[in-house]
Amino acid sequence: MLFDSPAFAIFLIAVVLLYWRLNRRWQNIFLLGASYFFYGWWDWRFLLLMAGSTSIDYLIAKKIPSLSNPAQRRALLILSLAINFSFLGFFKYFNFFVQSFAALLSTVGMHNVPISLLRILLPPGISFYTFQEVAYIVDVYKGKLQPSDSLIDYALFISLFPHLIAGPIQRPNHLLPQVQRERTLDWDKFFDGLMLILFGLFQKCVIADNCALIANSAFNGYFGATTLPVVLLGSYAFAWQIYGDFAGYSNIARGAAQLLGFHFMVNFRQPYLATTLQDFWRRWHISLSSWLRDYLYIPLGGNRKGEGRTYGNLLTTMLIGGLWHGANWTFVIWGGIHGGVLAIERVLGLGSDEPERAGWLTTWLKRILLFNLVCVTWVFFRAPSIHEAFVFLGGLSHWAWQPEYLTAFEFLALFSVPMFLMDLRLEGWDEEYIFQRASAWLRTGMGFTAMVAIAFFAANQANAFIYFQF
């Protein structure tokens, strides 16, 4: 069920009310049942897949520490990784690879090659829980983590419903101990959870869903010919749409977890205020970028094998990171551009960990430049094909103006400026969520204000056509 649906609200209220009446053991069993219900609500056919892969990893992780032979330990690790990535590869990438292979054959003159495309349904959240399972098995293998004795606890770590479908990807050493220990109702954290949920809904329903109206129209050609204003409208609107959508979902997940006594890692830290791309990746989808760094980039050698290898590792990590987002070459291109720019920044010595001493103007110029660079890459992320991405970007060289463009920019400003101002506040005050350090009354008032804004300004994507009827 979607986080912004009434069904989820009813589900969450029921779970929270029942949960705090139970002791830890029964809390975990209850939450596990609730999480599987939540997942089954999306598609019950994949419950067995998730349960199966969870059980396999649990058993393998239990076995690894008991083996003294390094080769046997390594073999079990490889077995677990192979199973996890096989599931992910099959369900998410089978048709993509088959079609890409056929396209490759046609470039060398082999046409009409019979290919078998399967009607494969994509299990919801498989990308997220697979990465969590991989992190767990690798940490156990490296001795950083003791395997869970309880299948219930481990299964709950994997399937805890707030993060199951769309993250944030939780590290085993952060979430598993919380699952294993006693949780008590902390009203400070409970209030924080409510605030996170309200602001997350504001980001998703007000910011993202309204910006989507403009972004979809620009990318689908409803504005007519693609011109410079249309490209700007589309790319800027999508930039705020994807940020509001993803950050909103992450905050709702964090808030829901907080109501249950769990703390999830922060996933976004004002990414559009970054001054370099390296800085951007320390702020955007932090749970994924840190996972890629720790479980892909560093095992590949990181920056320890010389400059050339470092650039190769950067590019490889970002290409795979791009592909993780979806089975389309556009995502690979998106990742590749990011990898390439990160490498260039490294060559030029930009994005170092040294604190910036640039002045206010220089900082803001860098931010504007980086924001526009990121918006260009978003075009590849959003477009259905590489060709259409380039056609869209080609509009940058065409100028035309219609009166409706001004209204569209005003509309976009109406729904992006609040998010921008929120980010400025968060940046300046170093808060986990907005107004965290304000007085209780102010926070309560702002939470209620978010509720009012959601009631009157939340767009409804399912009924988007309504906005076109006047």
Binding site: M1, L2, S5, P6, A7, W41, W42, W187, D188, F190, F191, L194, L213, I214, S217, N220, G221, Y222, F223, G224, Q402, P403, E404, L406, T407, A408, E410, F411, L414, A440, W441, R443, T444, G447, F448, M451, V452, A455, F456, F457, A458, A459, N460, A462, N463, F465, I466, Y467, F468, Q469, F470
Partner: protein, 354 residues
């Protein structure tokens, strides 16, 4: 923070309750659209044949009906034998009205005839009107059937149920739109530009196959509730509008289909926006429609003593189809010269072939 958590939750709960109460009881008093919807829905539900009174006829549809048919003129032309009640929900399609009529019939509506005004695309459309459909037209008892018909997932289905139960949730898109217009007065101009391009019509064979199933389905529903079903296809400025395929579908399903005007038969200056008729056009269309409706309704009187199922079978032998030329009203040049509005066109139409 226990106290503030409770305060925040209580504030949000009170706010939600106020929204619901406001949407149900206050908003209809202050917004024309909500008031109209409430009024027309209530009147449609309360349709009953009364001895000594004109036979009630229910006409339903979307903006094509709202802007294309002048109800007072229609009532004038069909009176005193018939009285027409209109129920319009904009941007609706066939499935919205199939389930909407099921709900109305369950509520006790008993019109003598149901007239559905849809074009070919809307007749074969596989979609429903989302939350507004759920709020105004759907009976919660039909929820699972709707889920199967439109293949919606659990979340979308639960959203429909919630939209049915909560007036605010069901109408929130219209509320959002109203606030947008208030904040951005030029938003309607932008929104018109943002309208998705209309997909091309499928081939006539496909239209006929799909339409005949639906026409028969609707006819059976109406017959089970003692009503005659009549489908009306409004005029279109497009070269091809699928109306001939709909007529063939009507023949196949043995149901009355009225096509008062062929594609592009009406001049462009009778259209407001290339889709809806303007006021002059609506007078012309209403005039043409009324004469054909009267004949169709009168013919059904011959079978009105039969049982509902038998009536459906009897009406199967009577189809108003064929070419419109035999019934085509000729409107004088005055209709094109801005003199519509003083009954000049309405009073001077002639029918050929009578």
């Amino acid at each position: 923070m226990h106290r503030y958590s409770v305060i925040l939750l209580v504030l949000c709960t009170i706010f939600c309750a106020a929204l619901e109460i406001g949407q149900r009881y206050v908003v209809p008093r202050i917004t024309a659209m909500d008031a109209r919807l409430d009024r027309e829905h209530t009147r449609a539900e309360e349709i009953r044949p009364l001895p000594g009174k004109p036979a009630p006829v229910l006409i339903v549809g979307n903006s094509l009906l709202k802007k294309g048919v002048v109800i007072p003129l229609l009532n004038e032309k069909l009176g005193p034998e018939y009285t027409v009640t209109r129920y319009v929900v904009e941007d609706t399609n066939y499935l919205d009205w199939y389930y909407g009529l099921r709900r109305l019939f369950r509520a006790g509506a008993r019109p003598k005839a149901v007239i559905l005004v849809l074009n070919a695309r809307q007749l074969i459309s596989p979609v429903i009107h989302g939350d507004i459909f759920a709020s105004l037209l759907m009976d919660p008892r039909d929820l699972l059937d709707v889920k199967r018909t439109v293949a919606s997932d659990n979340t979308a289905t639960s959203n429909l149920l919630f939209a049915n139960l909560s007036r605010f949730y069901g109408m929130r898109s219209e509320i959002h739109k109203a606030f947008l217009v208030h904040v951005l007065p030029d938003f309607p101009d932008l929104a018109v530009k943002l309208r998705p391009a209309t997909a091309s019509l499928p081939p006539d064979d496909d239209i006929e196959t799909k339409a005949s199933e639906r026409i028969f389905q609707m006819s059976r529903l109406c017959a089970q509730n003692g009503a005659q079903f009549i489908l009306v296809v409004p005029p279109s400025p497009a070269a091809r509008d699928g109306s001939s395929a709909i007529e063939s579908a009507g023949n196949r399903a043995a149901v009355q289909v009225l096509v008062p005007f062929r594609p592009q038969e009406l001049p462009d200056n009778l259209y407001a926006d290339g889709f809806h008729l303007n006021y002059r056009g609506s007078l012309v269309f209403t005039q043409a429609l009324s004469s054909r409706l009267r004949e169709t309704l009168n013919n059904d009187k011959l079978t009105q003593t039969a049982e509902p199922d038998d009536r459906a079978a009897n009406s199967a032998g009577f189809v108003v189809g064929g070419t419109a030329a035999s019934m085509k009203p000729e409107y004088p040049s005055g209709c094109n010269s801005g003199m519509i509005g003083n009954d000049l066109c309405a009073g001077s139409t002639r029918r050929t072939g009578q």
